[in-house]
């Protein structure tokens, strides 16, 4: 019962956020509405017992990625009016309509014929089992079976730092050629 209440509350938050993203005139408000959607999805994850994914969802998406969006919006200028009459890509709107209708049709099909068109069991809104929590399992996998992969990632981080410095540093001015 509690599961269901939480589900509907989180789903409402997701939908409200999603509507907010396309409804608000100010891009900053759109980005902030996106946080609502992502947060709602994080609650869904908690509800399903996927605590690690919930934490990652909040830290990476609601945190880092939305901040990145905001950075870009601020850099481009918040108050720049967006020209909405002209599509940057031709045929965007009809394509969006087709995809939306197809999506709704798929959902309707699933709702009506559920079991017949999917493989496996229909989903339940509950944690799957009561073994060690998935954070424990993930932590164990990272430090046992995948410890080498985990450590190699640190080399990638070093490359990222060095690479960012190399690419961002200004070329010595003396003989910048304009080829």
């Amino acid at each position: 019962m509690v599961d269901k209440i939480v589900f509907f509350a989180a789903a409402a938050a997701c939908l409200a956020g999603a509507v907010g993203v396309i409804w608000s005139k100010n891009p900053v408000h759109s980005a902030l509405s996106l946080v609502g959607t992502l947060f709602g999805i994080a609650i869904h994850f908690v509800n399903l017992g996927a605590h690690f994914l919930a934490a990652v969802q909040v830290v990476v998406y609601a945190g880092a990625i939305v901040v990145l969006f905001l950075f870009v919006i601020m850099l481009l200028g918040v108050d720049k009016a967006e020209q909405l009459e002209v599509d940057p890509l031709g045929g965007q709107r009809p394509a969006a309509a087709v995809v939306a209708i197809a999506g709704v049709a798929l959902l309707a099909l699933l709702a009506v014929r559920g079991v017949q068109v999917t493989t496996g069991e229909s989903s339940k809104i509950a944690a799957l089992d009561s073994g060690p929590s998935n954070i424990v399992l993930l932590g164990r996998a990272l430090f046992t079976d995948y410890v080498f992969a985990f450590e190699v990632t640190s080399v990638l981080l070093v490359i990222a730092v060095v690479g960012a410095v190399v690419m961002a540093r200004r070329a010595p001015k003396d003989e910048v050629s304009a080829q």
């Binding site: 430090f143 992969a149 080399v155 490359i159 690479g163 003396d174």
Partner: protein, 508 residues
């Protein structure tokens, strides 16, 4: 109370054993990269000329030294190959062979880079750091016993290469090549990752040993997922090895990247791609050989033909060599396609000899291009035999070796792969390989003719060519290897024969 609870729940996780000796080459390369960064950030004055290059070369030499110790261990009949780090890495003759090839690629490219960076006023440790880390990524690919580790190795190798390609920020071509390489490379990584997901879906594991075990023990009712995985993995590896039709980035990136970096790309990076391809396909998917061999057959034919034909119409030497490196990838694929121990050993011999040939070739191109890395047209080589007879002779050796003229390692390399193809009854492929080698011989001879037989009267003389110490050492080593192995190949063949990859169960 809480504290007591916390301690009560503490349970020691049994962390897997890591064989330090087996990972020593990796640790040395990464450690040297960090050392270079430390030196450059802690010292205020500029260190003596060539310090960074010397450290890089020493680190590679140490890595090769530790690889020698490992070689004695894995080829010992009683001890043999083993896995370490919970089955993430395989240490066998194959891994050790590629540790040596990739470390050689790093050392020779670093020797070329030393003078180049000073000439272009870009001196600093960053290129060496990236080269060392990129090489470490390549070694991870060659040793990997798990598809996730293969992927991480590939990313380590590639991301460093994207930056290295754009290292000369003053040249628009360099920046452009970095951008192209990055966008296409990221795309191909996605293919590889998708392929890994397919293979995991089909076999239930990412560990190569477990995959091979599963495929040997079970017959799949539906092979669609597995075959889809093969195709996607081939796209990922084919891109890195610049096999047609995944080659389109090669000419632009080889041309635009700083020439020593191009040398590194054509040697170490290509070697790593073939290492992963050989271990994953020839060893792990051996059971499904009949399914993937036709794919490789098709790719090999396309690569041979497109590489050698398009190379002829180029006028820029770096672009010519880019296309010729595509056709060489085709020859190595001929060895892969055979899918026999003989084919693998031939491919290994090819990779090792090609490393020396191509580093030498791009080494000469680095020197001839002159300040600004600009003179890559055929006209810059006109009359080189009069201005720099030694350099022209060196270049001729590399070109003839690439063309496959007897008494060079290039001839034997081609001979062995074609021999392996014939023994595996791929007669058509062997024939196509021979014909394409005839076609591409024209290209190499064209450069030789430009160097020796062109009258310099009338044509304006090319830039003055200087041969600095580092590049001279690299070229000398490359020529020595190409000629000596071309005449006395037994020892190298013996090594390649003992470096067949094995797939061991992870024992998890």
């Amino acid at each position: 109370m809480t504290a007591a609870l916390l301690f009560a729940q503490v349970e020691k996780v049994a962390t897997p054993k890591l064989d330090w000796a087996a990972t020593a080459p990796l640790l040395i390369l990464c450690g040297a990269a960090l050392l270079l960064l430390l030196i450059s950030s802690l010292t205020t004055s500029r260190p003596a000329r060539g310090t960074y290059a010397v450290i890089t070369v020493l680190a590679s030499a140490f890595a090769i030294g530790t690889a020698g110790v490992l070689w004695a261990r894995v080829t010992d009949a009683e001890r043999g190959a083993f896995t370490t780090a919970a089955g993430a890495l395989t240490v066998d003759g194959f891994s050790v062979f590629f540790i040596v090839v990739i470390s050689l690629g790093i050392a020779l490219s670093a020797l070329l880079a030393d003078d180049y960076l000073r000439r272009e006023n870009l001196d600093g440790p960053e290129l060496y750091v990236l080269m060392l880390l990129s090489g470490a990524g390549g070694i991870v690919m060659a040793m990997a016993n798990d598809l996730i580790v293969v992927f991480l190795g590939l990313e380590t190798l590639s991301i460093a290469l994207y930056v290295m390609a754009g290292f000369n920020r003053r040249r628009a071509e360099s920046r452009e090549s970095a951008m192209k390489y990055f966008v296409l490379g990221a795309f191909s990584s996605a293919f590889l990752l998708y392929g890994i997901a397919f293979i995991y879906g089909a076999t239930g594991s990412t560990n190569l040993g477990d995959i091979a075990g599963f495929l040997n023990a079970n017959t799949l009712e539906h092979t669609g997922l597995l075959l889809g995985g093969f195709a996607l993995l081939l796209v990922g590896f084919g891109f890195k090895a610049s096999a047609v039709p995944f080659h389109v980035w090669t000419p632009d990136v080889y041309q635009g990247a700083p020439t020593p970096v191009t040398a590194f790309m054509a040697s170490a990076s290509k070697a790593a791609a073939f290492a992963a391809l050989l271990r994953v396909f020839v060893s792990t998917f051996a059971e499904y050989r009949l399914d993937w061999q036709p794919l490789i057959w098709g790719i090999a034919v396309l690569t041979l033909v497109v590489g050698s034909v398009l190379a002829i119409v180029q006028t820029d030497v770096k672009r010519m060599m880019a296309y010729s490196s595509i056709s060489h990838a085709g020859f190595i694929l001929v060895g892969v396609q055979a899918a026999t121990a003989q084919g693998v050993s031939a491919a290994l011999f090819y990779v090792l000899s090609y490393t020396f040939m191509i580093v030498g070739t791009f080494g000469v191109a680095t020197l001839v291009s002159g300040k600004g890395d600009e003179h890559h047209g055929l006209e810059a080589y006109r009359g080189l035999s009069r201005r720099r007879p030694g350099l022209a002779l060196t270049f001729t050796v590399f070109l003839l070796a690439q063309a496959g003229v007897p008494l060079t390692s290039g001839f034997l390399a081609k001979f062995y792969v074609i021999g392996a193809a014939v023994d595996a009854h791929s007669y058509a492929l062997a024939l196509i390989a021979m014909l394409s080698s005839v076609v591409s011989a024209f290209l190499y001879l064209r450069i030789v003719v430009a160097m020796y037989m062109t009258d310099e009267e009338g044509a304006e003389p090319g830039p003055r060519v200087r041969v600095p110490l580092g590049a001279g050492v690299a070229l000398g080593l490359a020529v020595a290897f190409t000629v000596v192995v071309g005449i006395l190949p037994q020892q190298v063949v013996h090594w390649a024969d003992r470096a067949i990859p094995v797939v061991l169960a992870s024992g998890r």
